[in-house]
């Protein structure tokens, strides 16, 4: 299926304004979709017999910085029987950075979303267990945000090693 076919599938189901734009430049080609309907879109794309995206390969988030004031959550879908792939992009507000969880659609999203929450601070609504996964539970800040400043100490220990410091 071509990228326009996927767009048509989505617009038939959810109306004209669900697909904001098509990114032909991306590999695989991407659809920019409405972030508020992401869970329904994913469920529809997984179950529809023409798309049948049964595998979520990758879920990642990108912080565009305080000036743009947006974040993006990107889904890479793959269909094993049809052997086609699709990238879904969503743009969310950076302040609240909220998006629906797709953990109920693909269970693998559970840990991927926890990682995106841990490193970028995206709040996935409806996630059953949104805890930090890679960093320590009491770590402050989300390290992959553009305006992240590394704390100087962590529980009284220096986080940056100075020149000539053997510790």
């Amino acid at each position: 299926m071509e990228i326009t076919d996927f767009k048509q599938l989505l617009t038939e189901e959810f109306g004209e304004d669900v697909v904001l734009s098509i990114d032909e430049n991306a590999t695989p080609k991407a659809l920019v979709v409405d972030a508020t309907k992401i869970q329904a879109i994913c469920l529809f794309l997984r179950d529809h017999e023409n798309s049948f995206f049964d595998m979520l390969s990758c879920l990642t988030a990108i912080d565009n910085g305080p000036e743009a004031n947006t974040m993006e959550v990107i889904y890479n879908l793959y269909s094993i029987p049809h052997e086609h792939s699709l990238m879904l992009k969503t743009v969310i507000d950076r302040e609240s950075s909220e998006i629906d969880s797709v953990e109920s659609v693909w269970r693998t999203a559970d840990w991927h979303e926890r990682e995106a929450y841990d490193l970028l601070g995206v709040n996935f609504k409806g996630h059953p267990d949104l805890r930090r996964i890679l960093m320590a539970a009491d770590w402050e800040g989300h390290p992959l945000r553009q305006d992240y400043v590394e704390p100087e100490t962590y529980r009284g220990m220096k986080t940056i090693r100075e020149e000539g410091d053997p510790s």
């Binding site: 430049n25 990758c58 890479n76 269970r107 996964i133 960093m135 320590a136 539970a137 992959l144 220990m157």
Partner: protein, 404 residues
């Protein structure tokens, strides 16, 4: 030298490694056991919080992150070619495969993937398959060790040593190679390598028959692993499980064939899948069986590569494997998802480039072990604690890739 202040409070331990289960969540007769961070069956640093009722595992919560080295943050602060040594450290027992995946992704982004000389491509596949055998040998050998079989472990480690020596001869390092570069290789194969490699392959083939006898068809081994930790196919796909774990569940899904990258379409090999010969499809035995079969397929691939490298794409005096290495890596502005079949499954890299610099704006590694590990709790519930160890070993995750 300044002294380190470490204000220890009893609550500190709870804060750094909190438990998911509190004492009041537990039912009568249940208790929480911590397994790890260091345990022989977890190949790396992983803490498992296990709720048990007698010897039955009621629930299991993996706690990871002990090995987190901020790969993504590092990769976003150095040029693409300088990130290759970091990629080695993702899956440190199969570094060549990770390098191959990463480098291929960048070459596709640059649009030079069809300009790579064939000799370079065959050398890449050769070293990647050698490393795949080494990685599977670690998995099979230590799995036998988890179950209680010591001899197969020593045998496969002996054979793996030969591979490591070959790869050390190529690149100068035993485990972390930095051998595959964007657009080429660090160096051509050393003189006489093809002959030595063929010698090793001929040595290895009878050893694999021995391995079948001593481990895979061993009655004790079958008893310990058949019908344990059964992973149904639809659950595996839903959890994003790939590699030998998914193929053990009976799905013929291998990116070397599905995507047909590099020179794999020109090579003749099968994709082994678990058929449930000793129990149900997708149990621990099937996963180990698939790995052993894959080693045999890799041997076939290496033989064909050596054939090509000594006949069609011979070493010539003026061949330079670095001829295509670009001076500046500057892909156009785009989002790119590249993937390849690592020894443990689908290793994907997501790049966002801005078209101006050779440093990616975002580099995310979709690691296979990360997804494979997430299915652990699902297939362990209801089994004995001893079987849990067997299930952990059969998934074969490397924590360097889980934590990144």
């Amino acid at each position: 030298m300044s002294t380190i202040e470490y204000k220890y409070k009893p609550g500190n331990l709870n804060a750094s490694a909190p438990a998911f289960y509190k004492e009041e969540n537990l039912k009568r007769e249940e208790m929480v056991i911590n397994i790890g961070p260091q345990h022989p069956s977890t190949h790396g640093v992983l803490r498992l919080e296990v709720v048990t009722d007698g010897e039955i595992v009621v629930d299991l919560v993996p706690h990871l992150g002990y090995l987190h080295r901020c790969f993504e943050k590092h990769a976003q602060s150095v040029p693409f070619n300088q990130a290759i040594p970091f990629v080695d450290r993702l899956d440190y027992v199969a570094a060549m495969n990770s390098e191959h995946a990463f480098v291929m992704g960048i070459e596709k982004m640059l649009g030079i993937e069809n300009d790579i000389p064939k000799r370079v491509e065959y050398i890449r596949v050769l070293v990647a398959e050698l490393n795949r055998i080494a990685s599977h040998f670690v998995a099979i050998g230590t799995y036998g060790l988890d179950i209680g079989a010591f001899t197969p472990f020593l045998w496969v480690m002996r054979d793996r040593e030969h591979i490591q020596r070959l790869l050390e001869w190529i690149s100068g390092a035993r485990m972390l190679y930095n051998y595959i570069w964007v657009g080429g290789l660090f160096y051509d194969l050393p003189v006489g390598f093809e002959e030595k490699c063929l010698e090793f392959i001929n040595y290895l083939k009878p050893k694999l028959v021995e391995l079948d006898d001593v481990l895979i068809n061993n009655k004790i081994f079958v008893e310990r692993t058949a019908n344990i930790g059964v992973l149904p196919r639809n659950l595996a796909i839903n959890y994003g499980v790939t590699g030998p774990v998914l193929r053990g569940s009976g799905l013929k899904y291998d990116l070397r064939r599905v995507d047909g990258y590099s020179v794999y379409p020109e090579l003749d090999f099968d994709i082994p899948v678990g058929k449930g010969e000793m129990g149900q499809t997708g149990d621990c035995w099937d996963r180990t069986f698939v790995r052993v079969q894959e080693v045999k397929e890799s041997v076939k691939i290496i033989e064909q590569c050596l054939e090509k490298l000594t006949k069609e794409h011979k070493r010539t005096r003026d061949f330079d494997p670095r001829a295509m290495v670009p001076k500046k890596i500057r892909p156009k502005a785009q989002d790119f998802y590249a993937r390849a079949e690592n020894s443990k499954g689908e290793l994907g890299f997501f790049f966002r480039t801005d078209g101006r610099s050779d440093i990616p704006v975002r580099c995310k590694a979709r690691a296979c072990s990360f997804s494979n590990l997430s299915v652990l709790a699902e297939i362990t519930r209801g089994h004995m604690v001893a079987d849990m160890i067997a299930i952990i070993g059969s998934i074969d995750f490397v924590m360097g890739e889980v934590d990144r």
